[in-house]
């Protein structure tokens, strides 16, 4: 049952978006976030929406998946819109009952915020949907590599992330095994009150941690045997090469950002 968990929610594919250089994708995503937050009217948001849905269409991932990505944040969205709705006192009052006062400005602000957040989630999901976690880690390592000059452990961080990703399925399998073993000994993991289940979780976590430490020890020895000595002088099998399409995608994104800035100033 734990095996079904997917990490990073990557949808393999071969669309233009999938094939973009991951380094560019990260930069584009950052520009995209800036774009959504600079625009402060609905026209800017419309431009952002065109960009988002255009990219989604190009990725050939069903739109349904993007709505799913918003779902876990549904409560957060409701709270955001309620706060904006209830506490915005500027503008004409549309509705008043006891202490509740809803103004037209409150209504537009809350709609604006909700749309902005939904676009933000959908757009950033596109990055994780079209880029495998390991490629993403790789791209982050390379983007951050200038920080090495100020002694920031970029390579070590990326290595830790990629090993974590590598061992997630292994540890999930192990958790499954330990759970079965503890159930066979009569531990109540799926049943019983919350307190009982929480207490029984310890009987899973302790063996899991012990085994993880042992694995770490063995892996470190195996890495040493294969001449691992940090990031210095390393070459890579996975080559990242930027193609013309990466620069085009970046240019298009910058154009959209410019449009949003101009529209924000004009209206």
């Amino acid at each position: 049952m734990l095996r079904d968990i997917t990490i990073g929610q990557y949808f393999p594919g071969n669309s233009v978006i999938h094939r973009l250089d991951p380094r560019f994708k990260i930069i584009i995503t950052i520009i995209y976030i800036v774009m959504l937050f600079t625009g402060d009217n609905f026209l800017c948001l419309a431009v952002g929406a065109v960009f988002t849905f255009g990219a989604i269409l190009l990725s050939r991932i069903p739109l349904k998946m993007f709505f799913k990505s918003v779902k876990p944040l549904f409560i957060f969205l409701i709270i955001t819109s309620l706060i904006n709705l209830l506490f915005m006192s500027r503008g004409d009052v549309l509705f008043e009952w006891k202490f509740i006062k809803i103004t037209d400005e409150g209504l537009t602000t809350s709609a604006f915020m909700v749309i902005r957040i939904v676009l933000l989630i959908m757009g950033t999901s596109l990055l994780t949907y079209t880029t495998s976690p390991i490629t993403l880690t790789d791209a982050i390592e390379r983007l951050l590599s200038p920080l090495r000059k100020i002694k920031f452990p970029v390579h070590e961080l990326a290595m830790m992330m990629s090993i974590a990703l590598r061992f997630i399925p292994t540890l999930i399998e192990e958790t499954d095994k330990i759970m079965s073993a503890q159930k066979a000994r009569g531990a109540e993991i799926d049943t019983g009150s919350f307190a009982v289940r929480a207490k029984n979780l310890v009987s899973i976590l302790v063996p899991l941690f012990i085994s993880a430490f042992r694995r770490a020890d063995e892996l470190a020895t195996a890495m040493e045997c294969r001449c691992y000595h940090g990031g210095e002088g390393r070459t890579r099998l996975r080559q990242l090469r930027s193609a013309p399409r990466d620069y085009i995608a970046l240019a298009v994104t910058v154009l959209f950002l410019a449009a949003v800035i101009v529209l924000g100033k004009l209206f």
Binding site: R166, L219, E224, R226, C227, G233, L237
Partner: protein, 283 residues
């Protein structure tokens, strides 16, 4: 043939954290030479020091006393450490705990990346090693999708990519199912035969040792027997005394010999045994 591994008077003790406790002596004076291209099995039951010995062959552990020289490099020579580890690769028991990357081909490339091998050369060596162990079709898979035997073959490919002269395998089949064991052993034998790579196979399976050129039996930190498999296994009494079993056919021949039949105790394969018993009936 030249010696690739020369071990002289090797002693090793684990230092205890507790200063009052005496250090535990695991290896008590080992002398062992292994020739280039040999296929050597190291046998012994748990705690006899065979894994500790293996870890000395590529400087994961350093001798407390004595010397270990691999392909002309003293393992104590820190400057040639990577040189040494490249020449003597090591495969461990648990296939899961030695695979570093989430993609098979990247894991095979791991050692080459560490050594700074240029891209074109790396690509070629990764592809060649994957083909050599028969895992080329799986190069883009995630290790979690593979069986134990396949994972172990990927681990072997990762070592072969370094183009080592010698591979040390520390109970590589202990965690595998019979099918996986067969795959891995066939791969090791092929590497030995086709590439001339020296193999040191640490194991406690007698049948695995029976297929080797030479068997070294260890007990309590010392080498007690060192000979061709047939000669080693024919010493059934001695092996039993240190808690090891002999292959079933050898034991059968030995029992027959004890019962007064005229049969050689140096039998290690079923075919040999069948032929010998047939001869016994006919005479």
């Amino acid at each position: 043939m030249e010696n690739i591994i020369e071990i002289k008077g090797l002693h090793f003790s684990y230092e205890s954290d507790d200063a009052e406790k005496k250090p535990v002596e695991v290896l008590k004076g080992i002398d062992l030479d292994i020739k280039q291209g040999e296929f050597v099995a190291v046998l012994g039951h748990n705690g006899c020091g065979k894994s500790t010995l293996a870890k000395h062959l590529n400087a994961i552990l350093l001798p407390t006393e004595g010397t270990v020289i691999v392909d002309g490099i003293d393992t104590k020579d820190n400057e040639k450490l990577f040189d040494l580890r490249q020449r003597a690769g090591m495969v461990f028991q648990n296939p899961d705990n030695q695979i570093v990357s989430s993609v098979v081909e990247e894991d095979v490339a791991f050692a080459l990346e560490n050594l700074g091998v240029p891209y074109e050369e790396m690509r070629r060596r990764v592809d060649d090693s994957l083909k050599a162990v028969g895992m080329y079709d799986y190069r883009l898979h995630s290790p979690s999708q593979l069986s134990g035997g396949q994972k172990q073959r990927v681990a072997i490919a990762g070592i072969i990519a370094m183009e080592p002269k010698c591979i040390i395998l520390d109970e590589p089949t202990a965690m595998l199912d019979p099918q996986g064991r067969k795959e891995v052993l066939a791969t090791i034998h092929r590497m030995n035969r086709e590439k001339g790579i020296t193999i040191v196979l640490i194991t406690h399976y007698m049948d695995e040792a029976a297929d080797c050129d030479r068997v070294v039996v260890m007990d309590k930190g010392m080498v007690v027997l060192d000979n061709v498999p047939a000669k080693v296994f024919s010493q059934v009494d001695k092996l039993k005394a240190i808690g090891l079993d002999v292959p079933q056919v050898t034991e059968l021949a030995w029992e027959l010999l004890k019962a007064g039949c005229d049969i050689s105790p140096e039998i290690i394969s079923e075919e040999e045994c069948a032929a010998a018993i047939e001869k016994l009936f006919n005479s």
